[in-house]
Symmetry: D2
Subunit: 403 residues, 4 copies
């Protein structure tokens, strides 16, 4: 007998739960890709992608995942040998930096560990030290999906400005866009990278790069670009296929068109940010209560440094893996594995897990996941202070109905 | 801002949550209805319907809802003026009896209120009083969807036998089949009625009548039957369209074929019964805890009299309706209204609600519903003893993994 | 190797090809059935059903197929022993009459064979002979799906009026509604019966009965009605579940709501009638050309007596069945079997077939079916005059673009 | 009134018509991307991709369209300044060559016009002239989607061998794989490129590169590769995400897994090739008949040089565009625009069109398209010899049922 028989709930930090409407929008025959409806959809999606980033500038759409979008961003901005300053706060910032280096960029890393955001003072210091302004861009991860830390983008921008440095600010919002507040124009971001499968609620398969006029100007002197990654024809197309560098991603466009409508026309960005903040508060309340006994602890101690889309935590003593298995087998819930907290394959890797609360997620889904976790901890006799789920319900009671 | 934005959870006692696989199975072009695949599907569905009822006898499939299946059962068994003994334990038994009377059956009612099952001793007594054996059949509701009482079918059968009475036993399993244990052959049931949209996890649109050889013999002398309700050609078809009295319900058959495969080949009936029993225990634990303060109370006091598929409860003071609205608006959960507990439209009708846990439902879905209820009671300041959700999680922890 | 590998085309006279949008509309979770969206959908569907019938009066929706809708119509209008005059022009009129008789109606049949419509003069004559006006209603099939004859409804109404007879006119439009022109009010129809799976382009599962105030008045004195078939609560509901006599057919309503939108708001009834007329003309042109040699012949010789939704034809010498098999196996096309032209199971039954062109059907689908038929006749060496498909293409060229 | 109201038929050369089963397979919630089912699917898809190419070597899967797959193939094989010999037989070979040049490859072009395949003798001559064996690879388009020419891959391989040249043979099968016969191992192909949206019957979004051990060895010395395009981790993954360079294309994998099952387990490659050959013969028969009058002509005169997946033709005098518009508006058929036959935007560009017959396409779909074309030519009075559709039906009659 298994209590998992029912609708499974996937609470991994991407792909997230797709709305039924998005999957339904994708369930239709292919359209003509040279004329007609696809032209309207492509134009509307591009316009709405700018709105969702609070950006007045440009966007290129790629058939690619987040790694592809990273490569696109590097490819357009840099020439071989150019310098970049990478602010590393977790596994994903680390890979972006490594890939840039593989592509020929001279990457200087500032490491901030796996439990804290980038320190603007250190960024300012590093930029001041670059007296010849050789650093072309600063690379920052808004939310690191592995550590669940959130970086203060505006503060990093302020640090760059305070240093009087002309570097571009390039931000990876793959795990935050459509979840945590982000304002491209207001926060002075030059290049932003995201993908379809998290806050945008569409299956994996599309990556996006937004870029400012300043970044566009910089790209004109860069030499790493290849035909596929070139953002110029994609952002300024004359024919519809130029949006996509060839054949359109027809079905993903149908899905994304629907999800952007839900985000922008129906719920609204500020409501989405508030919803994610409240759901995150419920998750934190549960973990903080459970953690008053045993080894359970949130990865990020300071609430203001925690992402609203995903929560990384330590359960300890191999129990994260036991709990994840139990939840999948007995309760219908799949949590994310810990990533970047310990060497994969070691016993310590089994101490960590992640709970996602990104995108199409509501009080029922989130409280349900936390309640089954509490049940699982009891069933498996994992040491914890009871009452986490009651605390989470309290957080929801408090947050619900607020503007 | 609303915390309901996400996948909605419908916890009303039918239609229940359809598995994605069932909806997907229904999303296909129509087939030929005179030959080919439809012949195999119809035969397999009919065979599997007998298995799900633990019946070795006959089944007729109707394009109809449960009211239609009721009418079919009456129509085949009775002649105008025949006597029936109706055991009324709630709204639905009441309507079945009323409809039988409207159709010309002379219905004798035994009323057991809305908080208790039928008492076998009273049934035996009533049958003994029918010395001429004029009562042709006893009508019993296995689980009344409104009161959430479960009747002891085997005990009623024993009562009939103890009275030495030849009456047929006709049972309505609309709200129990595929949820609560039911054994048509073992329990001596002659006619059983169900529908597609509850434990069978298919959209509303099909009703079913199973019948024994004894019922078949009785039907040969009955005169109420009409061409549409006649179970004879449907149960013993020579051509595929006879299963359905005309055009086949093609898409419902695709869905039902898939759901019966899930029930019989994958999960298994005994596992399904155990899952429902455990999920029900979690719901009861929550209500029993909450109810230690304030007006909250389960409708059925005795746990052995409670259905495993749905739970009716009193919240009191109009708070059931307030809570239901809050859950729909703020948490993405839809609970059932109270039915038959008070006059519709009166303030008292707002004191009651029902939580369904029937069909495609798992620990995540059920605990999620209970946790949002606890959040809602806090947010609305509905008097309750806190800790219901923790108690429910405990019940899940205890029940999970059992054979 | 098979040239059938591709999207199959079903050209049987019901179920017809469902639009992707209808199937997509049905692919969603169940809704609450007591309040909310379902109330709006039910009201809109009922209003639009009246529009599609060009009726200002009443409609009852049944979870049932066409046989159920027939039974509903009989059940509400007649008392046991009442007289009806059945105009029989094919298999389906025949069954409707037979079922009415089984239900206790005293049915007088006027038979018009299987190759011609009902003759208004004979109807008038029969009614004049009923001097005491004992005939309560005249039963007429608008389009008989088996013979593909179309009856002149307005002429029959005129015949009834000419006879000065008060009989109700009851018409079966199952195979014509949404295909052939039909005007309930203008043509003086009192009761009309249809179902979801033909011109309305929704899977089988819903039947409908429209009725005039005169029919409503008649129903008040009738005694055959049962709770399920009673049209009163369904047509004049106070609560949403009364529309459907219990649980709503949720998913069929989603589909029907979409198809009625396509019919009424997008294409428009007059355009739909014109499209069917032109597609029918192409089918006739093909058969008339082929039939200049060999045994091939349309069932209905007079074009004004031919339905626009389905065409029955004789191929002869067992070749209809050979051609149907070849088309299914080699070309991806399924045609309808002949019905009611010869005794089922006899060799002669294999001489006949039907091509449907009802509902969601366009020039590509229809010409594709005819072209594969011509290919099949060549491959199987079935005697025919070549050029049928060229003639059909000519009919399309002529009809296209007309107002 | 429009005769297009019905199921639209898209006959453009990609994206092709997706099977309902493929779209249905993609309509499901996202899975975990780190463990479980996705691991099995990825491994099975990779193995089946090798089978569909008749290749025993390696395959890398990219979230990308065909342009991305082109870039991947160049990126892994070449270093900056390496030489390539491009055999250009149409627009797509042209762009592949141009993109390679943009990426830094020194491309030598052999142009064969837009009406003929590459001439092996000229290839041999060019390679013999490369005495120092500086040409690292020969680039060939199997079927050019614009001209609909098919190249003789084995003959080009023989020419390379006859020249005693070590060049790799790189072939673009985007428009042929799963349609025209292709045998990677037997034909000595080192690198092959394809995409999901044509013969593989899955929405656009995946590109593929197959490569031999010889190509793998060559890639070890190449320096153009970037992290996203690197085929090494994708073809030899240790973790499931390495197949895809990050997040898996979950829904496309569901679709591709289904389509490969249909191709390999159900229909079989040789049957698929035969089906496409027969359907192509029908299309050619129609055009050859029509072209006996007026300006209508197939682009490729020699039948052995014609692709089996797509047919390019001249209609002349702006009539291709008129016919395409009529078909879309009046008949429900969308044909492909002419590409690369005349300057886009000029009046001459309106003289050409393409009919696709690739992937999930059967006799009904193809004959339906041709029949509506004949109707359109009549309606628009486009000069043509009548009888094309009859000739096409004859070709189907002849080809059907062959082994």
């Amino acid at each position: 007998m298994s209590l998992a028989q029912g609708r499974p709930y996937l609470a991994i930090p991407g792909p997230s739960t797709m709305p039924d409407r998005v999957l339904a929008a994708m369930h239709r025959p292919a359209p003509n890709i040279y004329e007609g409806e696809i032209e309207e959809i492509a134009a509307r999606v591009a316009a709405n992608l700018r709105r969702v980033a609070m950006s007045s500038s440009h966007v290129a759409i790629y058939i690619a995942n987040g790694h592809g979008a990273w490569e696109a961003s590097i490819s357009n901005v840099f020439s071989r040998g150019d310098k970049a300053l990478s602010l590393v706060t977790g596994r994903f910032g680390n890979i972006w930096a490594r890939n840039a280096a593989t592509m020929g960029v001279d990457v200087q890393r500032l490491e901030f560990g796996i439990k804290a955001p980038a320190d603007p003072a250190k960024v300012e210091e590093a930029l001041r030290a670059d007296k010849d302004h050789e650093i072309k861009a600063v690379l920052l991860t808004h939310v690191d999906t592995a550590t669940s830390v959130v970086n203060d983008v505006a503060a990093i921008r302020a640090a760059i400005d305070a240093a009087g440095h002309p570097a571009l600010l390039m931000v990876d919002c793959i795990a935050s866009l459509g979840c945590d507040e982000f304002r491209m124009d207001d926060w002075g971001v030059d290049v932003m990278v995201a993908a379809s499968q998290k806050g945008l609620m569409v299956p994996p398969g599309l990556g996006f790069v937004w870029f400012s006029d300043k970044a566009l100007a910089a790209s004109r002197e860069a030499d790493l670009v290849t035909p596929y990654w070139d953002w110029q024809p994609r952002a300024f197309p004359e024919m519809v296929y130029q949006y996509f560098g060839g054949t359109s991603p027809t079905h993903h466009l149908f899905g994304l068109d629907e999800s952007l409508k839900m985000i922008l026309e129906e719920e609204g960005l500020t409501h989405i940010w508030a919803r994610h903040a409240t759901l995150a508060s419920a998750v934190w309340a549960a973990f903080e209560t459970w953690g008053q006994e045993g080894d359970i602890a949130l990865n990020i101690a300071n609430p203001t440094h925690r992402a609203h889309s995903v929560t990384a935590a330590r359960i300890g003593a191999g129990n994260a893996q036991r709990l994840r298995s139990w939840l999948e087998r007995e309760a219908g819930v799949t949590l994310g594995i810990g990533l970047g907290m310990a060497e994969p394959g070691t016993p310590e890797a089994n101490d960590f897990l992640r709970v996602a609360h990104m995108g199409h997620v509501n009080a029922h889904m989130t409280l349900g996941a936390l309640a089954t976790m509490e049940a699982g901890m009891q069933a498996l006799k994992i040491p914890h202070n009871p009452g986490g789920i009651a605390a989470a319900a309290g957080a929801i009671a408090k947050g619900a109905g607020q503007a």
